[in-house]
């Protein structure tokens, strides 16, 4: 486990302890079930964007991709398409979206911020337009429903829900990919120094495209999970602002926006911290109006502490060396 992860883990433990202390209901099975569920949903998005951030890029379109996938799913179900086929097609669509982002960024050499900002606007508009901006539900797709939002009772009232199992699969694959495979190594290398990676025979463009594909794909998966979790889609709102939470989770979890750095486990914990905060705000009884402020402050505090600790460590190290030398 790397040092960044320890920082965010401490933050998690701190808030967890505080909330527990303030409200003993906090740790009851029902609440833990929900906390795990929401954290998993956020973590899946966070892991997706972490891949893009590792390449030194950014993806602002996540929320809109979630909205688009959820809207199209509802639309397809309304028109009685085969649900399973629809799900496959939608995942395909999210891959195509990522592919387009990647191509625009690597081949046309547009900036990721711009491309995905346009994506944010574009997919949101398309969702609204295709659905005529109607709120939609998901009637009668029981199999998929239990696949995407089922629950497995563990003990008492504590259950693990589908998003958690999705997260486990995604996290294991992602961590393995990043730390154990050559492509993960390549991603980190190109995030640090793209030219250097290219001169070492790494096909940087392809890898960057792959990162955007992974990100959009996981946004697509999240879209399906959110849709089934909420049983309802509002084309203009579903997923709005999620990109910011996902990016916040990735950054707080140890990904540097400068690229070349990332830890899957950290992202998961960071996503949990963000959800935990909201849970805590509700349970402790802080005005819901302050929610945003508190999340903002905690993220800022987290990265500031992280930066300061890094500096102190560096200073101490330099002192040790100087005393050992002289």
């Amino acid at each position: 486990m790397n040092k960044n992860t320890i920082g965010i883990l401490s933050l998690f433990v701190l808030i967890f302890g505080f909330t527990w202390y303030s409200n003993e209901n906090f740790v009851n099975g029902y609440n833990m079930t929900n906390l795990v569920k929401w954290s998993s949903l956020y973590a899946i998005m966070g892991i997706g964007v972490a891949f893009v951030i590792i390449t030194g890029g950014i993806d602002l379109s996540i929320g809109s991709v979630i909205g688009l996938v959820a809207s199209l799913l509802a639309l397809a179900i309304k028109y009685e398409w085969n649900p399973t086929l629809t799900v496959v097609l939608l995942l395909g669509l999210s891959i195509v979206i990522g592919l387009m982002h990647g191509l625009l960024i690597t081949k046309v050499k547009l900036q990721p911020f711009v491309v995905t900002l346009c994506g944010l606007l574009f997919y949101r508009g398309i969702s609204r337009w295709l659905t005529d901006n109607q709120t939609m539900q998901f009637p009668g797709t029981e199999n998929l429903d239990s696949f995407f939002s089922g629950k497995l009772l563990i003990f008492g009232k504590f259950a693990l829900s589908s998003p958690f199992f999705f997260l486990v699969v995604v996290a294991i694959i992602a961590a393995f990919f990043l730390n154990r495979t050559i492509w993960g190594r390549y991603l980190l290398a190109l995030g640090n120094n793209e030219d250097g990676a290219r001169y070492s025979g790494i096909q940087t463009d392809r890898l960057k495209i792959a990162a955007y594909v992974i990100c959009s794909f996981l946004a697509g998966v999240s879209g399906l999970l959110f849709a089934y979790e909420l049983d309802s889609v509002q084309p203009a709102q579903t997923g709005e602002f999620y990109e910011l939470y996902a990016i916040a989770a990735a950054v707080l979890g140890g990904c540097s926006l400068r690229g070349g750095q990332g830890a899957i486990f950290g992202v998961i914990i960071a996503a949990a911290v963000i959800r935990l905060l909201r849970n805590s705000i509700n349970l402790v009884g802080i005005s819901t109006h302050l929610e945003f402020s508190i999340i903002g402050l905690v993220i800022l505090g987290g990265v500031t502490a992280d930066e300061l600790i890094k500096r102190i460590v560096a200073k101490r190290r330099s002192k040790q060396i100087s005393t050992s030398k002289s």
């Binding site: 409200n23 209901n25 906090f26 009851n28 029902y30 609440n31 079930t33 929900n34 929401w38 949903l41 005529d132 901006n133 109607q134 709120t135 539900q137 629950k151 009232k157 959110f226 979790e229 909420l230 049983d231 309802s232 509002q234 203009a236 709102q237 579903t238 709005e240 602002f241 959800r275 909201r278 849970n279 509700n282 349970l283 009884g285 802080i286 005005s287 819901t288 109006h289």
Partner: protein, 330 residues
């Protein structure tokens, strides 16, 4: 679309009044209103309607209305985001076109008429539903998208006043209670009001967190259409269906189903299709030169409907009928 731009067309087109129906945002509620507009458009004839849903609040609403004025519109029905603040602007609009308000009024402006509901009264009616649902009293939590909107505040106040058995307040002079406060009455305690900013997952997790926090929660009240279904989901997942009652506002299908199944107690419907339908109808009359539709107090109260298990079937089929009718045009 395009044919509207070449003005010299057949007489049929010329005779049609161009009417704009502007909402205050995006909400399932407005979908049903839009259905009513479409229905009136096809039923009444002689009008051509365009419907605008401003995405992001006041600024968007204002610039859309400006564009509509520039385009030349015979009549406009608008639900002002902030009636008081927009008075001046509304007067400017009213000087150039036939302006009516719907859903939310701007009493100080020169709008011709207001078509809507008394949200405070509707809130009190909702409070009565809550009393029916939990006659022995208990803890009540309120869920709402945003409290910026006057109608949301009025509804909330109506619920609180009713549950605390306070005397009725007059619309327009309502004193609003703070958000972060517990209100304890003889039988009923309003423990919390949580906002979600129209974020669905926040709506659901607010409901979940309330269930966690208030073990003795007796009733959840959702003030916006999407709130009651989220409450119901959370209750279901907590295994407390039936134990925690749900009362809501508006007519989301999931809520209606729950009322039918006995999982929710009831809802207050403003019958939004009437908003759309009546707006078009009234505007058309005015544009045809018939001002008799405007009552002296300039308020056409469309009332509200309490929907419970007793009248759910009847209500739901009407809703479906209206929604389907409205959609026929597409």
């Amino acid at each position: 679309g395009n044919n509207s731009s070449n003005g010299t067309n057949d007489g049929d087109d010329k005779a049609k009044h161009k009417i704009a129906y502007v909402t205050n945002g995006i909400d399932p509620f407005w979908d049903l209103c839009a259905a009513g507009v479409r229905q009136a458009e096809s039923e009444l004839g002689g009008v051509e309607c365009e419907i605008h849903f401003p995405t992001k609040g006041l600024a968007d609403q204002k610039s859309i209305m400006e564009s509509l004025m520039a385009k030349g519109i015979a009549g406009m029905a608008v639900s002002p985001v902030d009636a008081d603040g927009q008075t001046k602007f509304l007067n400017e609009i009213a000087s150039q076109t036939k302006l009516i308000t719907h859903d939310a009024d701007a009493p100080k402006s020169e709008r011709l008429v207001y078509i809507g509901t008394d949200n405070y009264k509707a809130g009190r009616a909702l409070g009565r539903l809550v009393k029916e649902a939990i006659p022995d009293g208990g803890e009540v939590a309120i869920f709402v998208g945003r409290l910026e909107q006057l109608n949301a505040r009025q509804r909330r106040q109506g619920v609180i006043d009713e549950l605390l058995d306070r005397p009725s307040q007059t619309l327009g002079q309502i004193k609003f209670d703070e958000v972060a406060k517990v209100f304890k009455g003889e039988k009923y305690t309003i423990v919390d009001t949580r906002t979600d900013n129209f974020v669905m997952d926040a709506a659901k997790s607010n409901a979940e967190d309330a269930i966690t926090k208030y073990e003795n929660l007796a009733c959840m009240v959702g003030l916006f259409a999407y709130n009651p279904p989220r409450c119901l989901q959370a209750i279901k997942e907590a295994g407390k269906l039936g134990k925690i009652k749900v009362c809501g506002f508006d007519e989301d299908d999931a809520l209606l189903q729950a009322i039918k199944d006995g999982h929710a107690h009831g809802t207050i419907s403003q019958q939004p299709w009437n908003y759309g339908y009546q707006s078009v109808k009234v505007l058309k009359s005015i544009l045809d030169g018939d001002n008799s539709v405007i009552p002296p107090n300039k308020f056409i109260d469309l009332g509200y409907k309490s929907v419970t298990a007793k009248n759910i079937d009847e209500f739901w089929s009407e809703k479906n009928k209206m929604a389907a009718l409205g959609k026929k045009k597409d």
